[in-house]
Structure formats: C-alpha cells, structure tokens
C-alpha cells in the first residue's frame, strides 16, 4: 500500500518476537512488516497464538520486540526508555481491553478523570461520558455497571487523553451479541468523527466486514493485508 510518511500512524519493520518458555523458544512474530494509516479502522484477525495480541502490545509499548523496529507518529518506540514509553502510552495511545480493566474503587467519572489528569489538554470528561450514553451513570462504580456500560467507560478512558491511536484487544469478547455490536458501532463512529486510528484485535472474522483494512495473521506472519473498499456499518453486522 502506497502512503506518504505523514499518513502512517504505525509502522512495523521486520518485527520479530520470541518468548522464552522454559527450554523452548516460542516464535510469536516472525518478521512482520506493516503500516497502518491515520484514521483507519483496522481489524487484525487470526486464530489463537497467531501473534495478534503481541502486535497490539508492541504497538502500545507494553512489550518490546526481539527484533525489528516500530515507528509511530514519526518516533521509533522501540528506542524509547521506560519513562518515555510511559509518556508515549499516556499521550499517544488509548487502550480498550476485553475485561474493561476499570479501577473498581473509582466511579465511572473518576476512572476517566484518572486518565484525563495525566495529560495537559484532556477532553472534558462529563460531556464525553454523556456522549457515550453514560450521563446518568457518572457516579456509579464499575460493579454497579453492566458489561456494556463498563466497556463504554473504558472507551471514554481511552479517548479522554485525545490519543491519535486506539488499541482494542477483543473489546466485545465478554459482551453479549447486541452489546458487542453497539460497542463496535460506537468505536466506528468515533473513528470517523474524530479521525482516530483504531486497531482492533479479534478472532471473530465477521468483524472484518466493518474495517477499512483487514490484516490476517497466522503463526506470527501476515498472511493477508487487504483494504475493505466497502466497510459495513456495525449495525448491519451478523455473526
């Protein structure tokens, strides 16, 4: 895919990842080259152990590759120190997890504020939560929210720092069908309206239909990297 340097949100060059497992070495990624463009909604598909979560972790600076280089926003994150990586995660990336990972002792609003106070120009927390349909649930603790509501709080937390890149690991993994679809609709809308780059990791191949691009992994290699010329709206999805 041809793209100018400015348009690339994340670029992986010859990235490998090896996990030592006792006496064995597990090759999670085997020379991945990839470029994700700004404002794209990308879905990475693959069976368990294909390396999709590893790619997400490397893009988010949660892990470092065994070889190769990763660039985002013009900077090489593989060369960052621990402190710089923290700042990178704080300012450039939003994370959405399968299990929401909200802080149980903080309310919905506080969970989002916690991330907001880490950056100098956060989005307004109240309106953001209201926009995500949580205007009435601000003072509720995670244990008082449904799964869908919790995930929406997690989305708000990921967006409040206004990061260019949002990384999602099986965001509907433990949600029911309808709620899962609503979450994807929400994310897709945000991607479109706010111009964020979304990278979603899932094993659900049907989700590829809503993506601008679908990347398929197998055994740590990219086996398919396709642009979807006619992405569906999430509401139209069936699986």
């Amino acid at each position: 895919m041809a793209a100018s340097h400015r348009e690339i949100a994340v670029r992986l060059v010859g990235v490998t990842k090896v996990y030592p497992m006792g006496a064995l070495q597990v090759q999670a990624l085997q020379g991945v080259d990839l470029a994700i463009l700004q404002g794209e909604f990308v879905v990475i598909l693959g069976p368990s152990g294909s390396g999709k979560t590893t790619i997400l972790n490397l893009m988010g600076g949660l892990d470092s590759p065994s070889g190769g280089r990763i660039f985002t926003d013009g900077a090489e994150i593989t060369a960052l120190t621990v402190g710089q990586l923290t700042r990178y995660r704080r300012e450039k990336v939003g994370f959405i997890f399968q299990f929401f990972n909200l802080i149980p002792t903080l309310t919905a609003q506080e969970n989002v504020e916690l991330a907001a106070e880490l950056v100098s120009r956060p989005l307004a927390v109240g309106p953001l939560l209201a926009e995500l349909g949580l205007g009435e649930r601000l003072r509720h603790f995670p244990s008082e929210l449904s799964g869908g509501e919790q995930q929406r709080v997690a989305i708000a937390r990921a967006l409040v720092t206004d990061p260019p890149l949002v990384l999602c690991d099986e965001p509907s993994g433990i949600l029911d069908y309808e709620t899962g679809k609503r979450i994807f609709a929400l994310m897709k809308g945000i991607c479109r309206q706010r111009g964020k780059t979304f990278v979603v990791v899932t094993h659900n191949a049907a989700l590829g239909q809503i993506a601008h691009r679908v990347i398929q992994l197998r055994d740590g290699r990219v086996v398919r990297d396709e642009v979807n010329p006619h992405p569906l709206e999430a509401e139209a999805l069936r699986w």
């Binding site: 700042r87 149980p104 903080l106 916690l114 720092t161």
Partner: protein, 813 residues
Amino acid sequence: MGKLRLQLLRDLAVHKWQFGAATLVVALGVALFGGAYSSYQNLKASYAYSYQRLAMADYWLLVDEAPERAVSEIGALPGVAAAEGRIVREVPLHIPGSAGVLARVISVPQERPASAIDLVLVEGSFFSGPQAREVLLERKFANFQGFRPGDTIHFKKGNERIPFKVVGVVISPEYIWVTKSAAEMFPSPRAFGVVFLPQERAEAFFGSQGRYNEILVRLEPGADREVLLAQMGQVLRSYHIARLSQRDTAEVGESRRDAIRGYRVGEAVALKDQPSNKMLEMDLESFHQLSLMFPVMFLAAAAMAIYTVLSRLIQGQRPQIGLMVAMGYSRGQILGHYLGFALVVGLLGVAVGTGGGILLGIYIGDMYSGFVNIPLRDFQVRGDILAVGAGAGLGVSLLAGLVPAWAAAGLRPAVAMRPSAPALGRRPPVEALFPFLARLSYTWKIPLRNIFRNPRRSFYTAAGVAVGLALILSSASFFDAFHSAIDLEFNGIRQYDAQLSFAQLDSALVSRKVASYPGVSSSQPLLQLPYRVLSEGKSKTTLILGLPEMGSPYRLFTPEGKAIAPSPEGILLTRVLQEELGVKVGDTVSLQPVAGVVGATRMPVVGIVEQPVGGMAFLPLRSVQDLMRQPGVATGLMLELEGHEGDAGLRQRLYDLPQTAAINFMTEQRRFLDDLLALMWGFIGVMLAFGAALAAAIVFNTIMVNTTERRREIATLRTIGLSQGRIFLMATIENLLLGLAGIALGLPLGYVMAVNFMKAYQGDLMSISVVLLPRTFILAAAGILLVLLLSQIPALRLIQRLDLAAEVKDWNS
C-alpha cells in the same frame, strides 16, 4: 506422592515468602510463650527449690533479745520443723578509700546444713570453726567490692578496726534480691552488704552470748500458722517479751537499727512479707503477665496472616478448584488439600517457635541470673509448656486455615470456573464524613479507597502494626517508668548529695558541726523511725521521716506535682501508704512505734506525697522528737556537698566522725540503679526484635496479597500512563496510612499493656507510675514505620517486574 500433595508443595514453594511470613508470626507467638512462660516457671521453680533445699524460714521473729532456751522451746512446738536463733546487726565496715559501708552482720551456726536458711558456697570454704575470726560475704557485695577468699575486711567499732578474714563467698535464699529493708529496696553494694559471721564469734563480738535478736522458724508442711503464732507469742511472753505482733511489711534488720531500744516487744515477719521474696514475687507477676498477654496477641495475628494468605491463594485458584470438583475430587479432599497449607505453616511455625522458645528461655534465664542471686537453679526445658505452646500454635493455624479451606471445598465448579465478579466499589464512609477527601488527587484517593475496599484485611494489618508497636511500647515503658521514678527520686525529692547515717540515735547538733566543714554547702538533720500506722483495722509498718520544716533538702510533692512541706498539724503519707490504708486527707490515723510504747498518738492526714519507692510518712523533725520525748535527736544528716561527692579529704573527715555508720552518696546510688536498669536492655532488645518482626511479617503479607490481588489494576494504571514512581507512591501512601492507623491503635494498646505490666510494680514496696515518654513513642512509631517501608520493598519489586501485556489480559488476576 499424590498429585494434590505435590501441588501443595509447589504452591508453597511459589508463595514461600508469604507462607514464610505467616510461619514466622506463628513461630514468634510460640517462641514468646515457650520462652517467657518457661522462664516464669523456671524462676518460680528455682526459688521454690532453693527455699526448700536451703530450708528457707517461714517466719522471722524479731525481738530485742531472746535466750537460747526460748529458741529451743519454739523449736519444740508441734508443727515447728526447726527454730534457730541468730544475731543480726548492722556494723560499719572500714574499707580503705570508701566512705563507709554498712554491713548487715548475720550469725551462722557451724553445723551444715543449717536447719533454717542454709547458705550456698560459691567460692572458698566455710568457717574453719565456730569461733574463727572469719567471714563469708554475700556474692553481689563480694563481687562489687572485689573481695575474694583470703582478703581481710575490717569492722569498725568506735575507733577500733577489727580485722576478719574472708574465707568464702556465698548466696543466701534470704537475699536472692539484696534489699536492705522494704523502704530501701535497692541499696548499692558500694554502701551496703551482707556479711556472715560464725555464731560464737558473733556472740562474742556483740557481747551477746546465748542471746539472739532474731529467731528463724521453719514450719512443718500443713502447720496451722495462726495457732503457732499464738504459741510462739506465749513462749516469748514467758521471757518477758510482751507481745509478738505480725508485721504486714517486713523490714528485716530495720529494727536492728531502732533508735529506741529496751522495749520487750517482738514481731513475726512471714515469708510472704520478706522484702527479697516480695520483690521476686513482684517480678514473677510481671513475667506472668507478659508470658500470656503477648503470645495470645501474636497467635491472633498469626491466625489473621494464615487466613489472609490462604484466602488469596484460594481466590487465585478458583478455576483450578472448579476443575478439581468437576474431575471428581470430593469436598473432603479439597478441604484437606487447603487445610494442608495451614498445617504446614503451623507445623513449621511450631518447630521453629519451640526451638526459639527454648533459646529464649535460656537467654532470659541467663539474663535474670545477672540480676538476682539464684542459689539453686531448677532451669529446665519444660516440655509441658512447650507442648501447650505447640498445641496452641498448631490449633490456631488450623482454625485460621479452616475458614478459607471450607469455603474452597464448598465452591461449585461452574461458579468457580467463571471470572469472579468485579471487586465491589463504594465510597468509603469517611468521604461522607469529610467531603474534602473526595476532592483529593488520585494519588491519595485510590490508596484511601483501597483501605476501605477490604476493611477486614486493613484492620488486620493495622492491628498487626498495633500489636508490634504495643509490644515495643509496653517493654519500653518499663524503662521510662523506672527512669522517671529514678529522676523523681534523685532530681526531685532528694535534693541533697549524701545521707550520713548515725550508728545510733544521736544529737542533731552534729549537723551544725558538719555544716562548718569546708566543702559542705549545707547539712540538715533527719530523724527516721520505724512506726506502725493504723486506720480502721488496717495497719501498716513503715518509716516516719522527721524533716526540717524549713529548707529541707528532702522535697515532698503531691501526686499532682505540687511542693508540700511537712506540717505540725498532721502527717503526710505517701500515695502507696494512703492506698494501702484506704485513708484520705482529713482522716485520722493512729501511730504506734514498732519498738516500745512511747510515742503512740493519733493525728490527721494533712496531705499525700508521691514517692516511687517505699510507703513512708512524713512529719516535721521537731514533731517526731516531741513524739518520742527526745528533743534534739537525729538518726542522720542530709548533706549538700561541693561537687556532689566532696573531695577525698572531706569524705574521710565525715567518715571519721564518731557518729558515722555509713555515708550514702546519691550519685553512687543513682549510678547503681542506672546500671541495674541497663541490665534490662537485653530484655527490651528481644522485645524490639519480636515487635519489629511481627509488624514486618504482617505488613509484608498484606502488601504482597494486595499487590498480587491488584496486579491487573496496577498493570492497567501503568498502561494508561501512570508512572512507576507514582504507583510506588500510591502503594506507599496506602501502607503508611495503614501504619498510622496501626500506630493510633498501638498507642492506647501499648499504654493499656504497660498499665497491666506495671501493675506488678505497684504495691506496698513501691509504686512505679506508668510513664510513656513522648520520645519513646516517637522513636517506636518511627521505627515501626521504617519497618513498614522496608517490608513493602518486595511488593514494590513485584510491581516493577509486572508483565503489563500479560496482566492486562489476565481475567483471574
């Protein structure tokens, strides 16, 4: 090996530090109980064994004079095992370079073993004969003064110096704790010592052939004491000793120095009132308190530690438990498996604790032997006590493990294999109470909410810190209390530098003469007499001190700390005496001289005086002289000296006065007491170590459990961009807040324990008030906080090493 057992061992290996910390707390509790209670039993048994083997007297009959026949007649009374007459007198010793030592000289029969109060020879030999010009020295005195067999000591008789050869060093069951009297519990061996003389030599020396001033009586087991006392009184009456009253406080030897003599009265001092025995009883009681109070708390903390660690382990292994049930393991097998952790912790804790208890017992025994002269030791490893400690340690461990193990056994597989519900979040009540807390930054808000997230665990942590601190504080309060008492005695009450004791009642005018000596800043006479104070059926034998009305360097203070002067309008009583008699200011008490009948009167109590040691009463000097109808007399002088101790010339001049029996310098006395107290540092060192270890183990466990439980949260915080430093800070704040809560609990707990601990030292011998100096508290609290900060290091390292990518995906963490 069964697979479950293999799993148990592997889990123990994985969580070795947490189970290790729980094991340590069990071990500390078992060791403390084993060590302290064994020591208590060892000391008690040693005293009893020494008393029994060395024929300790049951009664001391103090008389002015009784002939040999009276002793024989008492010895022949049914129920009396033995009666032995002896001479007990105080004689100044001449020791070159010393400003006078008062020796309590006690005659000893030649026959060994003695039928009442036998001596244990620790060095040298016994007398070569009943008339030998030889002495045996009590061990503490001999050691302090550096006397060895073969040395010579000199008795001072008027201007004469009479030499005696030291042939041996002994321990007496009567002086396991060397006291001079109930009013002088801590005489310095520099100024006071016990010396034993052959019976006939003593009789010749004191010109008292066949006549004794003390009769030791040993009773048959089960003898009726009241009947025998009446019979002994009857025997003495036939020798013109008008009455034999029972003393409620013993002042063995004090009556020897009675200023007023010649009255044919006698007193019976029971063993329970004998000062050395009383001091030992007091000590044993405080030991008893300590050996029960703290182990109970330690074991309670151990139970909480096991409960917390095992609960967390089970929480983390829910899927595994679900799988086991699904595979067909029975509830009993699962219960047994998880109870196995508690069993291993209990067994290891008991093994280490029992070994530690034996060592601690040996250490305490050795330390005590430095304090007191234990004539015959019955120190042994007390299997029964160790077994009780082991049983308690194991029982507590199993009980603590039973609760989470039972819950694990009750888990249904489908429930167990599902992710657990999100932790319950709620606004802690303190935020409703103090709304500003809700506006705190997240660095503070998250730790604060975490504390209320698992209140039981937080309470347990704070309680662990509190018990550790309380142990340190209550042990340290012993020092504070005694240091304060010593300070009050020497910086507050006794504003003089030396007390010169007359050999016998003499003219107070000596004071004027002494005051004119160069180097003497002031000299004031003092009249000190043994008296019985009575009020509504209660009676107490004590000393009345006659002090100059104006300018007395013996200062008196009310319990509120206000200065008070002796008044001719009535008597002042120390708080100890007041409480013993149950009187208050305004009540009238009767005063009866211990010797004779002259001086009996009634007078009102006009004030209460705070004095740490000795229940005494105070009157103006003139009032006591008038009472005794002996104007112008004194029993000693209170001297203020230049440079506190005077120069060698002055000391010699004072010592050479014909009236002088001994001079007791306050600096020396204080040094002796400080040295005595310093011996206890070993004890506080042990308690410090135990307290700190307890706090460290509890805090370590809680922090590790909290961190393990919150791995995903912590990883999430790191993922969204919180720095490692800020997460460390949040963990530290949470721990410090718990530590501060523990300190807030530990202070009153420590105080209550100190009150209990010091109760043993509040009786008719002394009244040591509970004191906890702010300095001690601050140091102990700071120490505990330091321990807490060190204990969180492993948890911080765990945070540092968290695999963020793995943790944020782990639904079970």
